[in-house]
Symmetry: none
Subunit: 206 residues, 2 copies
DNA sequence: CTTGACTTTCACCTTTTGTTCACCTATGCT
DNA sequence: AGCATAGGTGAACAAAAGGTGAAAGTCAAG
């Protein structure tokens, strides 16, 4: 989503252009950009624009089209790719993740997204029943190697992946299922590998 | 969202045309545009219109079609209806729905949609806890007046809206919470008004 | 078939604005 | 050193944008 890396100079130019459009509803002319940046030659502006285009910050425009500078962000807005995350497999307390060969993209509302990489897993079994996570639910996980106490995590112990509440006490971590029928397990912190933190849940009723 | 980049002049013309259609329900003639923009030649208008078309702000029209100017924005508006549903309020077993003045649109994955009208409600309380529906969850409801046994429904009884499992037995319906601490209730079918059937659930972890 | 209401087009002019050419400096990379 | 890239100066140039006026088409309704 974010604009390709730009030099500070390019960034200033870009922000002026974007801001100008925001205020005036139309694009600035090269002359206006030149004045604002305190340049003396229009060619400087032309070069700046060319670079912003090459770096994908500004949309291409027909040759010689006046006042047609447009941030790609604005143009692209209408064809915004839907927010999707890969569905990587199944997870169940006490069972290894059953990885899917071809991760299928799953559409999720942007409200459930945020910084960081996400993936989805399909829940099997009732190990987290008491936390309102049921068999068949789709969970959204933020890829992470660390977790805070009380968070629900995807953790791998001895090759087995599970979805559990995470609690760290000194050098051991407790992985606690939310199901009275299942036992809590404690491990040396070194044997527990955190793969992600639960950030969302999608359920579909028949 | 955004309209193609236009020059200030073009923008004025465009806005006049769009505004005129808004008010009068039909497109202005070139003459009317000419007067409004204070021009002396109709050719100026013709050129303006040609540019607006070239820049994609006005839709093409058959040759010589009278008063047929039309912003593409209006056409394109229906392009990709973002999959959103209105968030209508809060629901809790035993409490009336707390309606929201301005229903806010909530984005949902299309996988949770389907035929029929949908809306969203924010869950308050733990009445459906054992069904994996928790305080704070966002539920997706398909507007409906009938339900099948076993479905979870939004039902109104004596002005109180609740989220419960629906079971019909002859002339009475049972509304069953999924919480052992709460009692099931039975009513004559005529007093129970179904407002919708639960079709999805979105949860966000802090 | 004519007429009124419109849209298109022709010829020609001015202003605004984007593009390009030639040439210069600094910095980083191989 | 040798070369590519970012940044810059200045001037000449060409095309788009914006206009004028009048004439020629188009089309539906009287």
């Amino acid at each position: 989503m974010s604009i390709p890396m730009l030099t500070p100079r390019q960034l200033r130019a870009y922000e002026f252009i974007a801001g100008f459009i925001e205020r005036e509803k139309y694009a600035p002319s090269y002359e206006e950009i030149r004045r604002h940046l305190g340049l003396r030659s229009l060619n400087s502006v032309a070069k700046l624009v060319a670079q912003l285009r090459r770096r994908g910050a500004l949309a291409d425009a027909p040759f010689n089209a006046k006042r047609s500078l447009a941030p790609v962000a604005l143009r692209g807005a209408r064809q915004r790719p839907r927010a999707t995350v890969p569905l990587l497999g199944l997870i169940a307390a006490g069972q290894p993740i059953e990885a899917i060969e071809n991760p299928e993209p799953v559409e999720v509302p942007e409200s459930l997204l945020g910084p960081g990489q996400r993936y989805a897993l399909r829940v099997r079994g009732d190990s987290m029943m008491e936390d309102g996570i049921q068999d068949g639910d789709l969970i959204l996980v933020r890829r992470a190697a660390q977790a805070e106490n009380g968070q629900t995590v995807v953790a791998v112990v001895d090759g087995e992946a599970t979805l559990k509440r995470f609690h760290r006490r000194g050098a051991t971590v407790e992985l606690r299922p939310a199901n009275a029928a299942l036992r809590s397990a404690e491990w040396p912190a070194s044997r527990v590998e955190i793969r992600g933190v639960l950030v969302g849940l999608l359920r579909r009723y028949a």
